[in-house]
Amino acid sequence: MPTRRVLEFRLAHAVARDAVHDPLDVDALVADLDRRGISAGPDRGKAPASGSTSATDESSNGRSLGSAIVVTSQAASRAEYLRRPDLGRLPADLSAVAPSSPADVGFVLADGLSARALQTHGPALLAALIQALPTTMTLAPPVIATQARVGLGDHIGEALGVQTVLVLIGERPGLSVADSLGIYLTHRPRPGRADSDRNCVSNIHAPGGLPYEVAARVVSGLIAGARQLGRSGVDLKDTSREVELATPDTALS
């Protein structure tokens, strides 16, 4: 292989590996959520779950979810997280997660295998989700989770007392994309839910992946379907995307 190609490959692998090991900058993520008016900073005090205290930022439809809560899994380090997926599904301490008032939808912002994906795309995707959901739905404060696997959302969702929990989580980095997010939807979350109880929308990133707004519309439709069906998982089908993907692809011709 020519030197240039070998080094390009090595660079792509290095970026993907760094994405696995880079820790989540929780303070920066909270600041980003505050700036977008999604969460309330400490100086703004507690905002009502679906109030209208932050009218300045159109990106979250003017809806603040209240102060972000930070939790971590029982995996104490990245090395342990990679070896022990079971610990990544268990919360270290959920005392900060208290159901102030029962809400329809809760959001878990999880680092998963790419904290960079959450850092880069998480706030904008959450803003798009808030915008896409009906204003009649009540929304719980966002929970930021580190060293987290998807199953951690079952514990958080139950503690929040939400009907549906959405886990926005960094996906396993590939060589071409190291910062892709997935959303896992679980209706009536509780510990012990199986993967077949969830619905997943994956490959969310810009540019080249599923756009935030499209992902948000798909998830909004899935939530409505789950509420009607009374469950999520294999019986719940996404019927919105055929239309979205039907646009002719002329990029390759």
Binding site: M1, R5, F9, R10, A12, H13, A16, R17, A19, V20, L82, R83, R84, P85, D86, L113, R172, P173, G174, L175, S176, A178, L252
Partner: protein, 472 residues
């Protein structure tokens, strides 16, 4: 259940039955730690190996690791065991069996002896002896085995290394798949199979891809076989619908419960095997199955428990998957060694060890073993580790490896070996493609008599119209 014990330098270690002993004797790996069955110290591991060395091979016929009553893989292993073939080693312990194998290697008739022995060995015996072996032992014995299989090309002849051309595409785009196929053929790859993992799993997608590859293969009279790696039940439906199916694919594992997780039973596999055979599409042989395995698949399906509910180590369960494969006389068995992730094989050292173990165990059981030398980006491994394992497997006489453009599978999101890597190992070790495929490459002026791939001017290539096939 037999209890085993060993006192090493004043410390006594107890092992609760063969399941516990086998797990504790296994070279360290993250999957066994995750399952909670690994040795808790290096000394305990060696104490287990010392104990295992003294266990008679016969014990594996008396003490099943996974219950016979509840597991059809165990029933297959016991019911198909050939006592006459077992006789030459029937009186040996596991440790003495290792010595016997290594003594056999230099003999001129070692290949024939090992071929005759294979039906007398169970996966558990083979896994047990592998746990006592160094990497060089795994290589030396595997190299002495002779396992060949055939369809339109012959796999496993001495001095040959075949490749699966893996032209996967994230959206199953016909032009993308055809371009990757052309790339691989020009670099001398594809003699084991041209095999696509479909991104979409609908029968129509699979049928479209099979028609595409079959058209390429028949247009250029390529002595190889095609495969779309979809569920066996889908392939049975495609055969009934008259789609040109060469090989019937299925992933399999070492317990009945893990196979249920894949949605298969032995009877379903038999149905697929017979459907494939009924087509009679092979020219130099009728091995119609392509099967894939990998350490950790049973644990990831929570289907890894044996006698007494104890977790069985992942390497023993992997060897049991080979009993499933053996039943259906496959053309190709591929252990996808580093694919599942670091919770099963943590780093390059563990991936290299597992690759050599899987290849050894499969070959000793009489299977045409290939290895997907691969890793994911969250494992502690890189392309250097793949170079090491690829070279070791080349020396060990591996039947085939995977070849994917640029070593990066853009659909499955992991790194394997590239067309160029296959050329490297063939060149470095003097290995050649399958004979039928080699003759085809030479006939088109794509390879010289010494096995070197020749530069091709794209506009003058005999394959230049290949991408036109895809846009039709």
């Amino acid at each position: 259940m037999t209890r085993y014990g060993q006192t090493v330098r004043g410390v006594t270690y107890q092992f609760d039955g063969l399941v516990d002993l086998m797990a504790k004797a296994t070279p360290a790996r993250s999957g066994d730690e995750l399952a909670g069955c690994a040795a808790t110290s290096d000394a305990e591991r060696v104490a287990a190996q010392l104990t295992l060395a003294d266990v008679p091979l016969q014990q594996f016929l008396d003490e099943p690791l996974v219950p016979y009553e509840t597991d059809e893989v165990t029933r297959l292993i016991f019911d198909s065991h050939d006592r006459a073939a077992f006789q030459p080693v029937a009186s040996l312990t596991v440790g003495a069996f290792r010595d016997w194998l290594l003594d056999l290697v230099p003999r001129a008739d070692s290949g024939a002896v090992l071929t005759a022995l294979a039906p007398g060995l169970t996966p558990e015996m083979v896994a047990a002896v592998s746990k006592l072996m160094r990497n060089q032992d795994l290589i030396a014995v595997a190299r002495a085995t002779r396992v060949t299989s055939a369809f339109r090309s012959t796999i496993g002849l001495p001095g040959r290394l075949a490749t699966r051309l893996q032209p996967n595409h994230p959206t199953d785009d016909r032009r993308g798949i055809a371009a990757a196929t052309l790339d691989g053929l020009l670099l001398g790859c594809g003699d084991a199979v041209i095999g696509v993992n479909p991104a979409g799993d609908s029968p129509q997608t699979c049928a479209d891809l099979l028609h595409l590859i079959d058209e390429i293969r028949s247009t250029y009279e390529i002595p190889t076989q095609s495969c779309v790696l979809t569920h066996v039940s889908t392939t049975i439906g495609l055969i009934e619908a008259g789609v040109p199916v060469d090989l019937v694919f299925q992933s399999v594992a070492g317990t009945q419960a893990a196979n249920q997780g894949f949605g298969v039973t032995l009877s379903m596999l038999r149905e697929g095997y017979e459907a494939g055979l009924s087509l009679g599409r092979g020219t130099v042989g009728q091995n119609v199955m392509y099967m894939e395995t990998g350490q950790g698949s049973a644990l990831s399906a929570d289907a890894h428990r044996g006698v007494g509910g104890r977790p069985v180590d992942q390497q023993t369960l992997e060897a049991r998957a080979y009993a499933v494969c053996r039943e259906f006389k496959p053309l190709l068995v591929n252990t996808v060694v580093g694919f599942i992730g670091p919770e099963y094989l943590y780093d390059g050292k563990q991936i290299v060890r597992a690759g050599l173990e899987d290849h050894f165990c499969g070959k000793l059981l009489g299977l045409p073993m290939g290895v997907d030398v691969c890793y994911t980006n969250h494992a502690e491994a890189d392309q250097d580790d793949m170079d090491n394992l690829l070279t070791l497997l080349g020396v060990a006489g591996c039947s085939f490896v995977i070849a994917v453009p640029g070593a990066d599978d853009v659909m499955l999101g992991y790194q394997s070996t590239s067309f160029h890597d296959a050329l490297f190992v063939r060149q470095a070790l003097g290995l050649r493609p399958a004979p039928e495929f080699e003759a085809w490459l030479e006939g088109l002026g794509m390879m010289d008599g010494g096995g070197r791939v020749l530069p091709v001017e794209p506009s003058a290539s005999a394959l230049r119209s290949l991408t036109g096939v895809a846009s039709r």
